[in-house]
């Protein structure tokens, strides 16, 4: 049976990564050419990893379900990327970024991993500037920064409201260069449906060509999963329509442990839900909280009048507004971490002070416009304001924006060790798809940092420590019986789905499941609800496999079949989320159990019993998964109750 060995190097925290690199095994250039690596996903983590591995001389095959690697969902990240450059002379350092990330994650992430992340953060900015990423600059020509939630320094680099796009295009450029050179072969509109293990090691994947429906075999000496998070389990989220958890779920079923599935991030500033036809939620960058002030009416009758359309927000005088974040958290104000801001919005709306449909609060720029002038506000947030206006048909320069929390990111994911290897040898997981660095809550502008850290600066080193022992392994043949069996399993599953021929469309089913997941395993959870979820999800799974309707054929472009396969996995992921949330009898970060809160309604951790990573091991379709605990040790940071007051 697999055991949890996080392989954290010895030595003082600040020297671990340096020491690791000094003694790790490397592969010489002549041998690199003989080794094949598969990378699944071409977002920040996948594209940067594929490009860097190609540059080193490995043979890389990169896969994405989109029509181009440039469209991976990293592209939608708006606000920025953190780094400990201390260009602002405001007291930042590698240690402070490490400290903020651990604290922001509510003391549920690994010290060594997070310290390494903070260490390489500066290299990322250098790399991106060298690639021509047009970050925002001061008039003197140097890089500009802004502040983000959970930090008291300005360490966030940005490219207008399109930072993710610009960083991804940088990585896509590097990837394109390697494609041109022939070190990377790209497979677009191609979705991984299974991983192939030979003698216990990851040796390839099975994919479906999304144009022809053909099932393909691809072999390699190592497989890297960079397929993002599972936030779309909720149906409504800020993820792209195609974002899915299936690659991570398939490797879970083949022996990779799944860690902390209950840790999902609810982003506080999204455009509220407005109708049942809605297909996704749109995020408004957290950077807006730099200058926008969040409020609801102080009096319930004012909130009711606004909901009935009898009052406008601009009719509410200053003294009748409740700037509840500034009131509750004077030290951080509107810039508290995301989990805190989200819960505070829910608390006000549940208490009857919500605006709009009742599930919305205001984000107001009146003060900022008065203080800075409309031009400055427009320069900072113009494209976000424009996006808001296109969707909602209201002008945020004149009337406050309405926002509400929505599912945005998953901190949980495949369990990996310090080398980013899963519990299956030769199988790696990077970026959002692993659980590694954010604990129970991710700070803003840290997802881009982690994706690029893993892809540019961590994996290209650590993977060599494994591949150095594979230099005598000849090319893996796709004719091996393990491949044939995997193809058969994939085909059987697709035909089984096609042959259900039930009554419910995939979307209608997913909406139903997503709502239940949101109600029971969403922003706030309790024992009774989670038990109900476990029972209901089991029934829903049976219903899905009896009543789903997929038109068309498997041997053609068939988006309904693609979605069905992903939703089948989402139901099982939801089940594991509920199980993990039920097991974790404490509140921490994005995981809020109603039974465990302070008198003031803040999350109440239980460090004595739950200061561990919950890594779940798959045991078979009808068996309960087994929980493995990786105990977290904090040697370089004092564990405290988070306090943003």
């Amino acid at each position: 049976m697999a055991t949890l060995n996080s392989k954290i190097p010895d030595g003082p925290l600040a020297e671990k990564w340096t020491n690791y690199k000094a003694i790790q095994k490397l592969v010489n250039p002549a041998n690199k050419r003989k080794l094949d690596i598969i990378v699944v996903g071409t977002g920040l983590a996948g594209a940067s990893a594929a490009a860097s591995l190609g540059e080193l001389g490995f043979n890389v095959k990169a896969f994405c379900y989109q029509d181009s690697p440039r469209r991976a969902h990293s592209i939608a990240a708006q606000g920025g990327i953190n780094a400990a450059k201390n260009y602002q002379n405001d007291g930042d350092s590698v240690y402070r970024l490490f400290y903020d990330t651990i604290k922001g994650g509510d003391y549920r992430s690994r010290e060594a991993n997070v310290y390494r992340l903070a260490e390489v953060s500066n290299n990322i900015i250098d790399q991106c500037v060298a690639q021509g990423v047009p970050f925002a600059r001061e008039y003197g020509g140097l890089l500009d920064n802004r502040s983000f939630g959970g930090a008291q320094v300005s360490r966030t680099f940005y490219a207008r409201g399109q930072t993710g796009q610009q960083l991804l295009l940088g990585a896509y450029g590097a990837l394109s260069r390697q494609i041109h050179k022939g070190t990377v072969k790209i497979f677009t509109r191609n979705e991984m449906l299974d991983v192939v293990l030979v003698d216990g090691k990851a040796r390839g994947i099975i994919t479906r060509n999304l144009i022809s429906g053909e099932i393909e075999r691809h072999a390699a000496h190592a497989v890297v999963i960079a397929s993002g998070g599972y936030g779309n389990a909720f149906f409504l989220s800020t993820n792209a329509m195609g974002s899915n958890g299936s690659a991570a779920w398939q490797i879970y079923k083949k022996g990779s442990f799944f860690a902390n599935p209950a840790f999902v991030q609810i982003h506080p500033t999204c455009i509220p839900v407005h109708g049942s036809f809605q297909s996704k939620l749109t995020l408004m960058s957290e950077s807006l909280r730099n200058d926008g002030r969040i409020w609801v009416p102080k009096k319930q009758e004012d909130a009711e009048a606004i909901r009935a359309g009898k009052l406008k927000p601009t009719d509410i005088p200053e003294e009748a507004r409740d700037y509840y974040l500034e009131r509750r958290y004077p030290a951080f104000g509107n810039l508290v971490p995301r989990d805190v801001a989200s819960r505070a919005a829910k608390e006000r709306c549940d208490a009857g002070f919500g605006v709009g449909t009742g599930l919305a609060v205001y984000l107001d720029f009146t003060d900022a416009i008065q203080r800075l002038g409309k031009e400055v506000v427009e320069a900072r947030y113009g494209n976000l304001f424009q996006m808001y206006e296109k969707i909602v048909d209201e002008n945020p320069y004149e009337t406050p924006m309405m926002i509400y929390p929505a599912i945005h990111y998953t901190m949980g994911g495949t369990w990996v060790d310090y080398e980013l290897m899963t519990s299956v040898p030769g199988l790696y997981s990077i970026g959002e798809s692993n659980f590694s660095d954010h604990g129970a809550n991710r700070l803003g502008a840290s997802a881009l940092m982690q994706g690029l850290a893993d892809g540019y600066f961590v994996l290209p080193y650590t993977i060599q420590n494994y591949l150095a022992d594979e230099i005598r392994t000849p090319k893996i043949s796709t004719d091996l019986p393990e491949f044939t069996e995997a193809v058969k399993n994939v085909q059987d599953r697709l035909y089984r789905l096609m042959n259900i021929k039930g009554k419910q469309s995939v979307d209608s089913f997913h909406k139903k499941f997503g709502l239940l997941l949101w109600d029971l395993v969403g922003m706030s959870r309790n024992k009774e609800g989670l038990q109900k979820a476990l029972k209901n999800f089991k029934l829903l799974k049976e219903e899905f496999w009896k009543d789903i309707r997929i038109p068309g054929e498997p041997e053609e472009m068939n988006p309904e079949l693609e979605k069905a396969s992903r939703v089948a996995d989402f139901i099982e992921i939801g089940e594991l989320m509920a199980r993990d949330a039920l097991n974790r009898e404490e509140s921490c970060g994005g995981h809020f159990r109603e039974e465990f809160q302070t008198e003031e309604g803040e999350a109440l951790r239980n460090d004595k019993d739950f200061m561990y990573v919950a890594a779940w091991e798959y045991k078979g379709p009808d068996k309960d998964p087994v929980l493995h605990k990786e105990l977290l040790k904090y040697e370089n940071i004092e564990v405290k109750q988070r306090n943003y007051k």
Partner: protein, 246 residues
């Protein structure tokens, strides 16, 4: 809103396509264009028929996957939006809407409204980047860049690669797409080192892939969801001539 939709249906790349008429009722003016198509597809699935295929992903106007030719205009009647950010309030109750895929030889149709834009990737592969390996680069603040140049670079870099410029152009020219990438790097010191190789390689690839010539009608700029300016084409031309002479 009740609407009549005339949609291009085509079984696969080899099949002959045709317009098929559908009716949708009770569409919310607040829904997006793609959400309206979701409603249509639900109706089609209920009838046990094959839903309409179309590319889409982020549905927030940034990934560049979606792109429909709506009533004769790429991304429809609204300005500066992608199809996913087009809202039904821009139409009237009772309207007939004609929906087609991008029509351009270098973008062959795969199925229904899905066009193959891999040609754009191939142009980037040819040289749409700065050739630096991971690691070994100078400190980010070692090269000060005047703010106005950084802004011009960012204006160009905003391109999402959706292909509306090609679809809008009577010659199916990819000049605005290529110009955006060339411009982004041409104004930055980091990009100047290999500027002439870059522009020559990208233009040669663009021609090889069958994109047409630019006659400066400006249709691309008018339909670009990110409002990429025609002035970048002027810069591309300058870069190209300079590269050819020097």
């Amino acid at each position: 809103m009740d609407l009549t939709l005339k949609i291009w249906r085509q079984e696969n790349a080899r099949a002959k396509g045709k317009f098929v008429t559908y009716q949708v009722t009770d569409i919310s003016p607040d829904s997006s264009f793609l959400e309206m198509l979701d409603v249509l597809n639900q109706q089609i699935i209920d009838k046990l028929e094959k839903p309409v295929c179309f590319d889409h992903d982020c549905r927030e106007g940034i990934c560049g996957a979606c792109g429909l030719y709506i009533n004769g205009r790429p991304h429809g009647p609204d300005s500066a939006v992608t199809t996913c950010q087009l809202h039904m309030r821009k139409f009237k109750d009772g309207d007939t809407i004609v929906i087609e895929p991008w029509r351009a030889k270098p973008f062959p149709i795969i199925k229904d409204l899905v066009a193959d834009r891999i040609a754009f990737d191939k142009i980037i592969h040819a040289g749409g980047y700065i050739s630096v390996n991971t690691g070994g680069v100078p400190d980010a603040n070692a090269i000060p860049i005047p703010r106005n140049l950084a802004e011009i670079s960012m204006d160009a870099a905003a391109c999402i690669g959706c292909g509306a410029c090609v679809a809008a152009c009577k010659n199916a020219s990819a000049m605005l797409f290529v110009a955006a990438k060339v411009s982004q790097f041409a104004v930055l010191p980091q990009g100047k080192v290999e500027a002439s190789e870059r522009v020559k390689a990208m233009v040669a690839k663009m021609d090889e892939l069958g994109f047409g010539s630019c006659t400066n009608t400006g249709a691309c700029e008018a339909e670009c969801p990110k409002e990429i300016s025609l002035s970048h084409i002027a810069r591309l031309n300058r870069e190209f001539y300079t590269a050819k002479i020097c």
